[in-house]
Symmetry: C2
Subunit: 129 residues, 2 copies
């Protein structure tokens, strides 16, 4: 019975804080779950990211710990623990965190962290922890 | 400048705990955000739900506060605060919480809470708070 469950379902919860202990790098999304063709990714952020957009999809930010700002060309949104925001597709944004901040992203599988602005901060995609 | 941002982006964060103060009913999902054709819904659960499945989609449970169990025909998963689980599409499940538990669901827009088991516990869909 247990074997069958584990084969079909992997009946183990995913503990977000426990997953956050598994890496230290900044701006390097780690996948913790997949729902249909979407992924849930944890990211530790600090400092300034690059301006970029995702032409093909909205992107959800959920702050797990700390504070961050998502800058837009004509405004910004401040996010604290337990707050979330949906960046609409095609809208340029630049994440920023003064101190280290832990976030969860939700977006379709295959989305590159730097969107249209590939460069130094482009992280390897689809890395599971 | 601010007007333009608000029109385009609604540059206000979504505060999960603040949204949870806006309703008291059990088993009645409230939408707080939309990403592409997916929705983020808050639900307060207590007691036994009905056995059901969602033939067309996976469903994500994230526990915000409290504890719950997702029962399967051949096992179960226990979820505490900060834990999540992806119920695969087509898999029968029965959520249960001994005490009130606050969760966030992520699933495609239009998914009915009772899936294939429409009845007393079927909630109105697409209710935003």
């Amino acid at each position: 019975l247990i074997n069958r469950s584990e084969k079909i379902l992997n009946v183990k919860s995913i503990n977000i804080n426990e997953k956050l202990t598994k890496f230290t790098e900044h701006w390097s999304p780690k996948v913790i779950a997949e729902m249909n063709d979407y992924q849930f990714k944890l990211v530790k952020v600090q400092g300034e990211f690059v301006w970029h957009d995702h032409k093909e999809t909205d992107e959800v930010f959920i702050v797990i710990e700390g504070k961050m700002v998502i800058k837009f060309r004509d405004g910004e949104v401040n996010l604290g623990k337990g707050e979330m925001f949906v960046v609409p597709k095609g809208v340029e944004h630049k994440p920023y965190a003064e101190k280290e901040c832990h976030i969860m992203l939700v977006e379709p599988k295959g989305v590159v962290n730097t969107g249209n602005a590939e460069g130094e901060l482009t992280a390897e995609n689809d890395v599971w922890i």
